[in-house]
């Protein structure tokens, strides 16, 4: 008797062969007349020293000849605690397509925060740098249209600076300028940070000239270089201006400053 009323499914007989109800229609080819990118202008730069790293960026956001806003930060603290990244020790700067920049920042930030929850220790800059490369590379067929620069202090306490192309190629550098005015700022940095085309006076003529050896610069000096780089860029590039945001990373944490730039 009891067997008749068992709720067990019949064995061996006909049963339902579909596992799921029919869902989506298979999609065909697609045509697009929509361009998903724009350039929001602006410039960023980063310089690393012996025991510090400085990242900087202007705060203007543009659409063509329009200024969207005079204050849109391009520098973001990564990791730390909570929505305002308390105690963070890594900074990401992004310039290019701002929406992608924000999306990239948010992804990296959650990854670094999750890392700390999962491993019980903060992510090192080296690890973070490689992770960022992977994020960018994973989207290489529909890239984040940004030039990213990541800054922090390495495990020995030395200034660490990494720069990226939009598809994740990256290297550690002494200094890097990115964005609209990068072609104006980078040569200046080459000359003033790495002493390119600088020679020791009186060391000879022609090929005998001795190049001036690059030595780590002091923090105050680097801050001056950054300010000079931006005030000059503002003069010659219309997409750069309004404000200068700087983040200085040392063993004591991140110090943030804002100074105004010309608004024309």
């Amino acid at each position: 008797m009891a067997a008749i009323f068992s709720g067990a499914p019949p064995q061996g007989g006909p049963g339902y062969s579909f596992t799921q109800t029919p869902t989506a229609v298979p999609s065909g080819e697609r045509q697009h007349g929509f361009y998903p990118y724009t350039d929001n202008g602006g410039s960023t730069l980063g310089i690393s020293g012996a025991d510090f790293t400085i990242l900087a960026g202007d705060t203007r956001s543009t659409s063509g000849y329009n200024i969207n806003t005079r204050y849109a930060p391009k520098l973001f603290k990564i990791g730390g605690e909570g929505p305002d990244n308390k105690g963070a020790r890594i900074v990401l700067s992004v310039v290019g397509f701002a929406a992608d920049g924000d999306a990239l920042k948010e992804r990296l930030d959650t990854i670094v925060k999750m890392y700390k929850y999962q491993h019980g220790k903060p992510m090192t800059v080296t690890a973070c740098a490689q992770r960022l490369s992977h994020i960018l590379y994973n989207k290489r067929f529909f890239p984040y249209y940004v030039h990213a620069i990541l800054g922090g202090l390495d495990e020995e306490g030395k200034g660490a600076l990494y720069s990226y192309d939009p598809v994740g190629s990256y290297e550690r550098e002494q200094c890097r300028a990115a964005g609209a005015a990068s072609s104006l700022i980078m040569p200046f940095l080459d000359n003033q940070v790495n002493f390119k085309n600088q020679y020791m006076p009186g060391s000879g003529t022609g090929h005998n000239l001795k190049t001036k050896e690059a030595t780590p610069l002091s923090r105050g000096h680097v801050e001056d270089l950054v300010r000079d780089a931006f005030t000059s860029a503002v003069e010659r590039h219309i997409e750069v201006g309004d404000g200068l945001q700087m983040m200085i990373l040392t063993k004591d944490g991140i110090q943030e400053t804002y100074t105004s730039l010309k608004k024309d």
Binding site: M1, A2, F5, S6, G7
Partner: protein
């Protein structure tokens, strides 16, 4: 229990020879142990009230709300297995959202009750599931004004084809109760749970059929009925949870909301007074 040992009560959807589905009847038993829930259909709104039995002193008072909102203008209170009630509400919300997707307008309370009735009934048809262990009271206010379609941006033609019809009547208060079998009726006053018998006899005395009960009076009656229904098991502690829905022109603007603390406390005070005043028998309480 005549069902025990016959085997006809072991699987859902199986009839006994005298035409009963015992699993559904057992589900009704689950409801009979739940805290009393009451719904009153007033002239200008709906009141829902619940005797929330306090199962532990470690529970924060006033937290863990049991009367749920569906869309904006419907409230559901249920008695029986709590998780079944939560699932019922979740389904009702999905139904209301699906209706909006389809028709770009809020679901009428009657249609929601109909869909939920069908849903509950489906759980009596298959051996792979068990019936809902809840009886739910659905109360709603269908807008008396003609609402714009969701996403409407203009006002449309004022006269002629597509213009508004003069003097058309819309909406009003609606109250339904759905049982584990899927059976549902529309009610003037509904009660379920442990104290349902007392509550029902109290509701009958209110002459709700006349349609003269005001919403505010309904709140006070609902509180009183919950207190009276609770009287039988005085030793157990309980919290009174009450929500209401008024007309768009009324205090809740057509939305399902919790009864304001001041009004609820006043209603509770009157309820307690009514209990003390005539402990021996029932008499109408007055303000």
């Amino acid at each position: 229990m005549t069902s025990i040992g016959t085997g006809y009560d072991l699987s859902n959807s199986v009839f006994s020879p005298d035409g009963r589905n015992f699993q559904v009847e057992y589900a009704v038993k689950a409801v009979e142990n739940g805290g009393t829930a009451v719904g009153i259909r007033c002239k200008d709104g709906i009141v829902l009230a619940l005797e929330k039995l306090v199962t532990s002193k470690l529970l924060k008072s006033g937290a863990n709300k049991r009367i749920a909102t569906v869309d904006r203008n419907v409230g559901i209170v249920s008695s029986g297995l709590l998780p079944d009630g939560r699932h019922f509400v979740s389904r009702a919300r999905d139904e209301a959202a699906a209706w909006r997707q389809q028709y770009k307008a809020p679901i009428p309370t009657s249609s929601l009750a109909d869909r939920m009735g069908s849903y509950v009934q489906a759980y009596t048809l298959y051996s792979s599931v068990r019936p809902f262990g809840v009886t739910s009271i659905i109360g709603g206010w269908d807008a008396e004004a003609e609402l714009p379609v969701d996403g409407q941006v203009g006002s449309g033609p004022k006269v002629g084809s597509g213009g508004k019809k003069e003097g058309a009547k819309h909406g009003g208060p609606f109250l339904y109760m759905i049982e584990p079998s899927g059976l549902y009726w529309g009610y003037y006053g509904a009660a379920t749970g442990k104290g349902r018998q007392i509550a029902k006899s109290e509701l009958e005395k209110l002459n709700l059929v006349d349609g003269e009960m005001s919403l505010e009076q309904g709140v006070k009656e609902a509180a009183r009925i919950i207190y009276i229904a609770h009287d039988d098991n005085k030793d157990k502690e309980f919290e009174l949870e009450m929500t209401w829905i008024s007309a768009i022109s009324g205090p809740t603007k057509g939305k399902h909301e919790e009864v304001p603390k001041e009004l609820r406390e006043e209603a509770e005070k009157l309820a307690k007074k009514a209990l003390e005043g005539d402990d021996d028998d029932e008499e109408e309480m007055q303000e």
